[in-house]
Amino acid sequence: MIGLILFGIALLFLFMGYSVAYTFAGVSVIVGIAFLGLDLFAFMPYRIMSIMENTILMAIPMFVFMGIVLQKTGLAERLLESSAKLFGSVSGGLAISTILVGSLLAASTGVVGASVVAMGVISLPVMLKNNYHQPTATGVICASGTLGQIIPPSIILIILGDVMGVPVGDLFKAAVIPGFLLILGYVIYILLLGKFKPEFCPPMEVNENKRELLLQALKDIVPPLILIFSVLGSIFSGIATPTESASIGAVGAIVLSMFYGSFSLKGINEISLETVKVTSMIFAVLIGATAFSMVFSYSGSEYLIEEFFLGLPGDKWAFILIAMAAILILGFFIDFIEIAFLVVPILTPVAMALDIDLIWFAILISMNLQTSFLTPPFGFSLFYLKGVAPKNLKTTTIYKGVIPFILIQVAVLTLVLLFPKQLILF
């Protein structure tokens, strides 16, 4: 019971707005000392040491580093501009190029905020200038920006792999088809829109030579594609561990930045400092979650949760539905990192007891989180776009725009729920 009270108090305090890592750690210390005694925390250094020795999690800073390098080299801008010109002359072309670039950015950076902001700054003005239906334009950007959650090498999959004890490479592989289905779903939706409501996504006038455009686009798309394929390929073929291939990606990104002529030692230093900040933020949450989970499991709350779920009727489905609903709702308020470190460890033993395939479960969780990032009124993706959109663009416009994409998400999520064997590669 103490554990549940602890979780409730910590959640309430979160809304005060103090850093999540220390709110959880601080509340756990207070509750822990009050009910269980200080000695409980004598194990903290041992737990921290095992995080320090964790070579799987070591992939995170290097993928973050790679993402920030690609972001700072203006890769997003280049890709968006050249592909908009290439596809822009067809109905819906601008939206489709945004989706494709969004998925490419997702595969290379894996950070939601970064790609939504980049596309909001570059794509949105172009689409609006071309008289795109405002909700459609904003919906496309928000939706393709969240693809970073599911398309490997996403940070969330690395964390889930570590927390649930499944190989990160397998999770990356399993995410390929669901991620691809999402992209396909978005593109089909836009194509249909272009056919039945062409006034929603009118074509753009392009005066430049087609051949030159194609060459420019190839020059912008091929190098990052090679990088992404070499990183993912080395993981999938089993040549390299995710951590090793992350280092290849990090070095490769620097080589790319030299290729684009945007390399400088000062720039690398800034990128590295930014990486330190993002990484430390993630690991602070992990340490805070460690303190929390010590109190939580020491007070026997894990068994309470397990008993509750095992006592439910309807086999594993009741558990899956409740777990998904809880994650969806929590995802409105707290970041995926906290959910992965705090909630998933509570759910994993139950999933194992119910004989649920953990890889499948992990993919469901990450797709679910992605949907919650997109869902009004609190989805993160919507806030990021609102932050960079023109002032006269209403929030309700964005809300309206994401609805079709949420439906596509739910459809794909349902497919993965119903056909685990067919849609997950091993």
Binding site: L14, V20, N54, V251, V276
Partner: protein
Amino acid sequence: MQFMLISLKKVIDSVGSICSLIMILMVINVFYNVIARYFFNDVSIGMQELEWHLFAAMFMFGIGYTFKEDGHVRVDIFYDNMSEKNQAIINIIGGLFFALPITIIILYYGVDFSHEAYSMNEDSPDPGGLPYRWIVRAIIPFSSFFLILCIVYVTLNNFNILKNSFKNHQGLLK
């Protein structure tokens, strides 16, 4: 007081720069090991252990630096709309009652934890691994001490914000 704040800031920033350097070294280290292993079939346990030694130092000390930079995630639905004064109050309360206790606990138990390795003269359990395990264990107490410095810095800064907002308030009344 101001002098102390300025020198604290300098110390914290230089630790941040060192972390950023360690991050680059870590990328080079891991990349070197990959190349050495696949192309020259040369595996060094020591070099592999160095990877996580660098990794650990980078993020453990980085946590303090990030604290000073206000880089730790918050649930900011309400926080963003608060006045600067209320934000300062939350940061002071959070720093003193949430961040400080856990850090002191980790420091307290971390000292024993690394001292134990020192007195047993513990080395890496693997042949060819790095000696002096107490050094990497000592990252825990040292980084905790550093984090306490950062908490003190941020708290003092927030007291300043609070003080100024009172002054401005009185200025407005006159």
